[in-house]
């Protein structure tokens, strides 16, 4: 599955992966581990420090110009403007970049009892590799597109395949004078929210590597990644005086001429017609601080069975907040995102369901090298149709909650290594007693992730 730095977090799919990632980290021999680490770090550090991904080559700037503290995916105000102006600052260069992620995961509970717990056996494993086409096309247009090779196929272990990942084609112009500043632009992308620049939409918000923490198998709102690389959307946006951002987009099934944006991602999810996505954000900068308060609305009708005319109707209302402090050597970013989803099913006689997702993340980076982050998630849903329905409808009452602390280190700007630990306080609605999947308690789902990320 995807690489987060450039890709959206497809939480449902990732959740399956995470639930599956039950292997014996404790069996990993320390000597072997250290040997792996030294070998890999030596190899990565030997990369020319000036050799940075495509956008950095285009602008000639360090990653930290666009990414807060040099850490992805959080963008600085400059990085947001770079994206809003269609990736067109700088000069046209070869618009190619690469990325690779290695990782190792361990789940606390007994792997054998979890659903599909086969995972990768505690060894440090090549996880994903991505090829980016990213850069300025004309004076006012540019592209960010990603093709990802996934070396790990979940239940079946290593079973690599290539798939289209996030893509965002843009055109933008900026009308600016001492009195006013108006950016207007257009985006064509394949993941609702991936075009956003504040990192608080689910597409960019949480987890930085493909094996990052998630909510397990909990039901998430459809806006939280379920349509990533399944649909295509076109939209228009305005950003006025660095105060007001407004966007109107419409998404449809990513088939036909747009199927290149959805290739390799399993069965095609089919949605009905054009489905609206609206986004409004208010922003303000003062001194080293900047803040965004936002709202988004996503309304989508999906065919649970494409051979039948009935559609399930999802309406997602999301409010989000981002605060950022940027003044060398300190970088701090915090985001809050809450989505409320209402689902009306196409199946006759079914009742309305709701899904609520709350996520928060704070990260601090010192000298663009040493960092820590803390994430919180709480996802729950009603189960009005639990007794008789399946498929897209909810099988049971769920409520999954947990925390993820992380530490990371970036020895040079295009290498990052880190450790995350996810602590579940609730899984599938219960904390203790009846969670047989995880040895009788939610903490059985706890997991540790070690990763090494590199880009060139």
């Amino acid at each position: 599955m995807k690489a987060n730095w450039a890709g959206g977090v497809f939480l449902k799919q990732m959740g399956v992966r995470l639930a599956n990632a039950g292997y014996a980290f404790r069996r990993l021999q320390s000597g072997r581990f250290i040997t792996y680490l030294i070998t890999i770090m030596t190899g990565l550090i030997s990369i020319d420090a000036h050799a940075v991904p495509a956008f950095a080559r285009q602008t000639g700037q360090n990653c930290l110009a666009c990414h807060a503290g040099g850490q992805f995916p959080e963008l600085t105000p400059y990085g947001r403007m770079f994206k809003l102006t269609a990736y067109s600052i700088g000069e046209r260069t070869v618009p190619l970049a690469m990325m690779a992620v290695m990782g190792s995961t361990n789940v606390k509970g007994p792997a054998a009892t979890g659903p599909g717990h086969t995972a990768t056996d505690g060894t440090l494993t090549f996880n994903t590799g991505s090829l980016f086409v990213a850069g300025k096309i004309t004076d006012k247009s540019g592209v960010f597109a990603q093709l990802t090779y996934d070396n790990y196929g979940g239940d079946t272990g290593a079973s690599g395949h290539v798939a289209s990942d996030n893509a965002d084609f843009r055109y933008a112009d900026r009308l600016i004078s001492n009195g006013s500043d108006l950016i207007y632009g257009f985006t064509l992308n394949n993941n609702p929210g991936v075009q956003d620049v504040w990192g608080s939409t689910p597409a960019w918000g949480y987890g930085v590597v493909p094996i990052s923490t998630g909510t397990g198998v909990a039901t998430n709102p459809i806006f939280h990644g379920a349509l990533g690389s399944q649909v295509v959307g076109a939209g228009a946006y305005l950003y006025w005086n660095k105060m007001v951002y407004a966007e109107v987009s419409a998404y449809r099934t990513g088939d036909g001429v747009f199927s290149f944006l959805t290739q390799g991602n399993g069965g095609q999810t089919v949605i009905k017609g054009e489905n609206p996505y609206l986004r409004l954000a208010l922003t303000r900068e003062w001194g080293a601080h900047n803040v965004m308060l936002g709202y988004s609305y996503f309304d989508v009708r999906q065919y649970p069975d494409p051979t039948l005319p009935a559609t399930d109707h999802y309406r997602d209302n999301t409010i989000d907040l981002q605060y950022q402090y940027l003044l060398d050597p300190h970088t701090f970013t915090a985001t809050l995102t809450r989505t409320n989803e209402t689902v009306d099913y196409g199946a006759p006689g079914s009742l309305q369901d709701t899904v609520n997702a709350f996520r928060a993340k704070a990260s601090y980076t010192y000298k663009a090298q040493y960092g820590t982050s803390l994430s919180y998630f709480n996802v729950s849903n009603s189960s009005n149709n639990a007794a008789s329905l399946s498929g897209n409808m909810f099988a049971s009452q769920t409520g999954t909650e947990g925390w993820t602390p992380e530490i990371y280190w970036m020895p040079v700007q295009n290498i990052r290594t880190g450790v995350q630990y996810t602590m579940f306080s609730k899984v599938d609605g219960v904390s203790t007693g009846a969670v047989d999947t995880y040895n009788g308690k939610a903490s059985g789902a706890n997991q540790v992730v070690f990763y090494i990320w590199g880009a060139y």
């Binding site: 360090n62 000069e91 004076d139 900026r174 001492n178 076109a234 001194g287 080293a288």
Partner: protein, 213 residues
């Protein structure tokens, strides 16, 4: 019908993309783009369209001495200025600027009006201490008065930059660069001046300058 609609959106995007003009170009490797356009389309993102940056990571360029802006852009371009923040942000921006564009950029920002911090937000004691150092230096440490080179009001003169109204955090950081690194060889004279100055004295001078105009 739907395919036609999306096709039209794509076609119009392509058409608009083709209609490019240098007036709003963000191309840093096109000599035909004027310095003013680059200032507005690119530099403004960090330094403010009127040269009054918001975040103190980035210096205010409004009312800055043209000669000073020219000299700094040229040393960024030649990599002779290598303090970390300068190289991380400015080497790439300046790498293909022409001399004409650099001159136009300097003229543009010189003509903007500097907006200092508001006095009521400053620490009065700190400002008073900073004013004393600015005007008199620190004789006991043989630190000369800032005013002797930067002007009675910190307005600068030719290659001596304007420092009045600058962000306090930026001044503090740059004095540290002069003092502790050789990343700004053209400012070698400042290394001597800042050698004995204490952190509290630096803070005081920076506080005073941030509210002065």
């Amino acid at each position: 019908m739907k395919k036609i609609a999306i096709g039209l959106v794509l076609a119009s995007m392509t058409m608009v993309a083709g209609c490019t003009t240098t007036e709003s170009s963000r191309n840093l490797n096109d000599p035909s783009v004027s310095g003013k356009d680059l200032a507005q389309q690119v530099c403004s993102t960090c330094h403010g369209v009127d040269g009054n940056s918001t975040n103190p990571t980035f210096p205010k360029l409004a009312s800055q001495q043209s000669e000073y802006i020219i000299s700094q852009l040229k040393v960024f371009r030649s990599h002779d200025r290598s303090d970390p923040a300068g190289s991380q942000y400015m080497w790439g921006i300046a790498r293909h600027l022409t001399d004409a564009q650099i001159t136009e950029l300097a003229t543009y920002f010189n003509q903007q009006k500097m907006i200092p911090d508001q006095v009521e937000h400053a620490n009065a004691d700190l400002v008073a201490k900073g004013k004393l150092i600015f005007n008199n230096g620190v004789p006991a440490q043989n630190t000369p008065a800032c005013a002797s080179c930067h002007g009675a009001n910190g307005e600068g003169n030719s290659s001596f930059p304007r420092i009045a109204g600058q962000h306090a955090d930026y001044i503090e950081k740059q004095l540290g660069v002069f003092k502790d690194t050789d990343g700004r060889p053209d400012g070698a004279v400042m290394k001597v001046i800042t050698y004995d100055i204490t952190p509290s004295e630096v803070r005081a001078v920076a506080a005073y300058l941030s509210v002065s105009s």
